[in-house]
Symmetry: C2
Subunit: 440 residues, 2 copies
């Protein structure tokens, strides 16, 4: 038999001379280097042909003489290796271009792409973009939108890791609807019905009993029958929950640090630079207003049970004007509009120890303190006409002894949409799912 | 109206004097400090009472005089704040205990816990542990098992972040079964059928066309009718995919770095220390053997289409004996046993450019090079009697131009199970899902 082969893994993935487009500027002048990527644009002028090559880092310019260009059968979205001489040229992107190139075709599209990715912005309508998501995301500005989300995810996790949180991964297939029977997807589970989790709420609370401080980043599922610009049937929820708090203000303090970490990660990203994004800061002291005061401030009747979108916009404008803040927290939402596990405000049980954080006048985060005593859960459920028995496995964690705790959930797509002032969350979800869409 | 309140968030979550059990050793002797946590064990001796307090960091000892103990109505799993004097005692855990304590009860269990968490190891049977997962995970050794997984997740991401990968989040609700119609969960999606994704395979490949290098950590769903110690109906998959490779060996090189990063993160964790875990290393040069040679080595017939579990164990023992490695890669698996998107071995198309990585004699990772040309996909599907039309949205990415690429998927639960030499993946999943279990 052949002997087993021990492979050397010292050589990295690419042969040494591959450079990324973004690093071409620092290549040694006159050295031979290799770019790998897609032909983003081919421009045949009378005296010269330009190939703009796109890779994961950005764009680079390749210059071909007419003879070489005539023999070169490549066009937009062809995948190529280009070996050439790094040549300073002040008018080239990054100040360096590739001259005297040899081009190797790695693969060719079957036809011209249906979107003109080389244009500064994509012109197609939203449904067209969503139908062709894998192609549309190749556009540098489009791609940068998701890279903001990826940076935000990194900032979320690193902040909470630094605060002693443990990452958890909880099941998405559950035996019961999380918070209500409505808006839940049902599936067949080995011959019995089961559901897709609307949130990790119950699990993250139980796991406060184990790790004290937990977070999860993952999909949640809402069978939202409404077709709005801010709802998705599946979205990425950034959840955190922590024990040994005094009240919801401790939760808000951790939320503030977390958002600051997300914004810092975005601010340091190449994507933010490419988009020319002016990344806001979250103040050390977040303006915080009680729900009852918020109603007065926006001129709504005192018995309104919730804030309407126009109320949120008014509050956002007020926070910016009065406090120079893109963020404002509204605390004390009426108990009757919050889930049964919400902790009441100790001095007035009409109100709750919960909050929403608005980002530029739109709800980004919901959070608050939860009940932590078993008897309080039983009372709260009965008061709403629900049977504690239906929640037996969840309530067991409280029967086993739980500290005062609370948490929050940030919608990733909403975060990026607000950050980039995008009109529709579908534009920042890689493959959005809604009432009408389950493909691609 | 009341003015809005600007809250100061300078004060961190806990009042300053809270110390974690693990940090008690470094408290200033004779200073007053506060522990918060669960009563892990109460031991009433004739002359003294010990409370062992458990928090997220570990255990600490509190000493009560008989009079104080008599008045203190707390027992196992009560949640308490304990303020006391940090007192050096060489025989206490960490060398410091709390004396002269004041105890505040934050909440009390409704009854004695049904598991004796204070015992060095949990004695209950697996079904009992799984039924009471939120309680069982409170046990320090149990909890440490998940903390290994959390560390591995962190190592996975940080390694790939450092290699220029972009994190993605792809939909779990899909219009078609990913790789075959079998073993897929079906759900009702606004009046039409949809499915739970068996893997992010199709999406991560498409997104190589956008980001070149992508990874995802998230749930995957397999309606596995088999009831084995290594299968779950929902598990955490660590997926990566990268473009501009030469062949599967480039993928294996990135996998090797990734596993090394995961092991490093685990090695540096408090959980590994608590468990006394001897964390292995993955060699710079992973022993790699061709499938055909592997069959000969284990004494199996040359026409065997796959490796049986006992073959994997033999290969694992061989790698350890001959190469001192806990890891061995088997490359070249027969094409007929691999999915249609697998790239054949260029010099002999019976074999594939794919691999499995075995960890201590069990498959941990499957990976390899994929087809990247549209025409090759059409041929591969037709050769298997499948219609390319059924894969139209997936294949469009290849029609639009894709580089040579490949990737891998690591099962998180399998990783931790192998690392800790645990007999059943259910023991390391927070809330396992299988043929018989969809709760808690």
């Amino acid at each position: 038999m052949c002997g087993p082969e021990v492979i050397s893994l010292i050589v990295p993935v690419s042969v040494p001379e591959r450079v990324l487009a973004a690093d071409l500027a620092s290549a040694v002048p006159s050295s031979r280097v290799r770019l790998s990527g897609w032909v983003h644009r081919r421009r045949d002028l009378s005296a010269v042909t330009f190939l703009i090559v796109r890779d994961r880092s950005g764009l680079a310019q390749v210059v071909l003489e007419p003879d070489a260009a005539r023999q070169l059968d490549v066009a937009e979205e062809w995948v190529v290796d280009v070996t050439g001489t790094a040549t300073p040229n002040p008018v080239a992107p990054g100040g360096v271009e590739l001259t005297d190139p040899g081009v190797t075709v790695l693969s060719a599209p079957t036809e011209s792409p249906t979107l003109e990715l080389w244009r500064p912005t994509l012109k197609a309508s939203l449904p067209v973009l969503l139908d062709q998501a894998p192609l549309a995301w190749r556009h540098p500005r489009q791609r940068a939108l998701w890279q903001l989300s990826a940076a935000a995810l990194r900032g979320f996790r690193s902040t909470l890791d630094g605060l002693g949180f443990t990452e958890i991964q909880t099941p998405k297939i559950v035996a019961n609807a999380t918070e209500s029977g409505a808006n839940v997807f049902q599936l067949g589970y080995f011959g019995q019905p089961a559901y897709l989790a609307q949130s990790p709420q119950f699990y993250k609370q139980q796991l406060v009993g184990v790790f004290e401080r937990v977070y999860e980043t993952g999909p949640v599922f809402r069978a939202e029958p409404s077709d709005t610009v801010r709802h998705l049937a599946e979205y990425v929820s950034l959840d955190a929950e922590l024990g040994f708090i005094r009240d919801h203000r401790d939760v808000l303090a951790v939320l503030r640090e977390t958002i600051a970490g997300m914004l810092d990660a975005v601010r340091g990203s190449r994507a933010a630079e490419l988009l020319g994004l002016d990344v806001p800061t979250i103040p050390e002291e977040v303006p915080t207003i009680h729900f009852a005061d918020a109603l007065r401030l926006v001129g709504a009747p005192a018995d309104e049970p919730d804030l309407a979108p126009e109320h949120e916009r008014t509050l956002g404008a007020w926070a910016l004007r009065e406090h120079g803040s893109d963020f404002v927290a509204v605390e004390g939402y009426p108990m009757r509009k919050r889930p049964f596990y919400t902790h009441p405000q100790p001095d007035d049980p009409r109100w709750s120890n919960s909050f929403d954080l608005l980002f530029r006048g739109m709800e980004l985060v919901t959070g608050g303190q939860r009940l932590h005593r078993y008897a309080d859960y039983v009372d709260a459920l009965r008061a709403r006409g629900e049977s504690p028995d239906a929640y037996a496995t969840y309530l067991q964690a409280f029967a086993d002894g739980m500290p005062p705790h609370g948490g929050f959930a940030i919608g990733l797509e909403r975060f990026t949409a607000r950050l980039t002032e995008t009109d529709n969350v579908r534009r920042v979800a890689l493959y959005p799912r809604d009432l009408h869409r389950v493909t691609p």
